[in-house]
């Protein structure tokens, strides 16, 4: 499912809303999560999961093609930990198909 398919499904379930409002809702949610992470904040959505930032120390890496050593600066990477409820629902016994 892509973002536009997500928007289409939500629009179908909410016929009283304009498509452009549904688009706005979906993009606002992801922009809000992005900006929270950009400010170093954590985003915790119980039952779904939590987005956070993990620091990676500066290190000396290697260019895999030339073997040359390159310095990699310290950086932050986004991380998602799945929430308990979703984790359990992913593994609930599935009907035989």
């Amino acid at each position: 499912m892509t973002k536009s398919e997500l928007i289409a499904r939500l629009a179908e379930k909410n016929p009283h809303l304009y498509q452009r409002d549904v688009e706005k809702i979906v993009s606002t949610i992801f922009e809000e999560i992005t900006s929270a992470l950009g400010q170093g904040n954590r985003v915790e959505l119980r039952g779904f999961g939590a987005f956070s930032i993990k620091k990676r120390d500066a290190r000396n890496g290697r260019n895999p093609r030339t073997g040359e050593t390159v310095h990699v600066e310290e950086k932050s990477v986004p991380f998602f930990k799945v929430g308990k409820e979703l984790r359990l629902r992913l593994n609930r016994q599935r009907p035989l198909d």
Binding site: L6, L10, I29, K75, F80
Partner: protein
């Protein structure tokens, strides 16, 4: 500060002009639409944000760290999130992503 459903609801309320109640319902609907899609085994791709997908893990042997006892870990599905380059750049600035 940790961002939760309340802040996402507030952002949708400010941006879209629905009632707070309806904004809150829609935040919930977005999360459950994503969850349900993943539970069906489908990948969710949100452009400029990232991709949620599943990996199937086979059975392996684990150990109870307290007793040292060997216990089988049953096959399971685990969720992963891969952040898009756009999201990584917003967290680090364009140079290091």
């Amino acid at each position: 500060m940790t961002v939760t459903r309340a802040q996402l609801t507030e952002a949708v309320y400010q941006e879209v002009g629905l009632s707070r109640n309806e904004s809150s319902d829609l935040v919930e609907e977005v999360l459950s639409e994503i969850s349900d899609t993943l539970i069906r085994g489908e990948t969710v791709k949100i452009s400029s944000f990232g991709r949620f997908g599943l990996r199937e893990k086979g059975e392996r042997t684990g150990r109870n760290p307290k007793t040292g006892e060997e216990v089988p870990i049953t096959p399971r599905r685990v969720l992963f999130f891969r952040a898009s380059n756009v999201l990584k750049e917003k967290i680090n600035g364009p140079s290091v992503a």
